[in-house]
Symmetry: C2
Subunit: 235 residues, 2 copies
């Protein structure tokens, strides 16, 4: 993901030798652990063990565990690249949305961090990698002729929707045992029929959830809604 330090061979022998730990390495293996075992599977001790080091070195690269989690969320989010010079803002937003969804599916266990970690940190104190996409989207939209506040509004609407969608989609992914009967597969048979008739009857509809098309449908709604509500006034 993030490139390793450019040169590693021509070092003054001793620095950055095999035993040297970098922040990138820490974050990368932390991400691996979370991807494999979920957020609760990550402990400082386990992470250190995975690195083959003493647990305490970690605190040379992060003030505490919370900051480390922020770092992981940041490295994932930093993979979201925005082209602020795109000609058509709407299709660029679509691309961003698809990329975001792709990232979320690639790291489902990180999604809780992505959506909740910001709650713990005021906006401007967040790592700059997290703010990069925001700034880029703002330039994209102002270049397209939107006012600053409108651009902000669009950004909020987009990411609000994206967060919601991704959370939705991951819920559906939780259970995919190869069970044939939808009712059984979803465990809906547990529900009393008298109280949850519709939910039970919609088993197949629930089981055949398609995140990609759901995303596109949502984007259709959102973008048409946005274009009818707000109009860019050309520069």
């Amino acid at each position: 993901m993030t490139p390793p330090p450019a040169e590693h061979a021509g070092r003054p022998a001793g620095t950055n030798r095999d035993g040297k730990i970098t922040r990138e390495m820490v974050l990368a293996t932390a991400l691996e652990l979370i991807d494999r075992d979920g957020p609760d599977g990550l402990s400082m001790r386990r992470l250190a063990h995975a690195l083959g080091r003493d647990p305490m070195i970690l605190y040379r690269h992060t003030p505490n565990k919370a900051a480390l989690l922020d770092g992981v969320a940041e490295t994932v989010l930093a993979q979201l690249t925005v082209d602020p010079t795109a000609r058509d803002w709407a299709t660029e937003l679509r691309t961003i949305a698809r990329d975001y969804r792709r990232l979320a599916l690639a790291h489902p266990h990180v999604v809780p961090l992505l959506v909740t970690r910001p709650l713990a940190t005021p906006l401007a104190l967040r790592p700059q990698g997290t703010l990069r996409p925001l700034e880029d989207i703002l330039t994209l939209l102002t270049r397209a002729g939107f006012s600053g506040p409108d651009a902000l509004h669009i950004y909020r609407a987009l990411f609000g929707f994206l967060h919601g969608h991704v959370l939705n989609e991951l819920q559906e992914l939780i259970d995919n045992p190869a069970e044939t009967d939808d009712l059984l597969r979803l465990g809906l048979h547990r529900l009393p029929i008298a109280e949850f008739p519709l939910l039970r009857s919609l088993a197949t509809a629930l089981a055949s959830y398609n995140g990609a098309t759901e995303l596109e449908r949502g984007l259709d709604i959102l973008l048409t809604g946005l274009t009818t509500t707000l109009t860019p006034h050309p520069a």
Copy 2:
């Protein structure tokens, strides 16, 4: 939520005396602790202490801590009542959205649980209090003439949007020190101007976030988008 044992006065003296603990009491004080200290402020020991009991009694009412958190999320979500017989489905959805927002603002520390706990549990194994609003909304929409899958789609769109919006709004609420200068208040002065010009220039716009109107605007977009995309065919 689940009714307490019907009679409590005419007991054979000794049962259910002052010292008796119910699941509702556990969940209620757990909610209090979370509201006050955040999710990390809740430990089994602290909760027991708040109840004036031994920590281990808690395991008479919940299999483990995760289930207890689910219970807290459930009690909050169960306060969301839906009227499946409402005449106008769109305005009913609006009401639901406003109620949800109100709940979220009343218990901001529970919101992370509300949006992420479902990820840990397959849909049908979730407590029925959580599924009640879903079923009710489905009946509301099918009564309005929507097909089952369309109703499901609308439900997903609504709650996806709601989750996203609430997360957005809570982010803005994090920091409200009584600082006069917006730039300073948001800590944006920390950002290099060259790299984040727009973000810095939008300080006042960022500072004057209004969740209620933002919600209404989002609902406008969503509902108009939904009505143009899907049409109920009358029963």
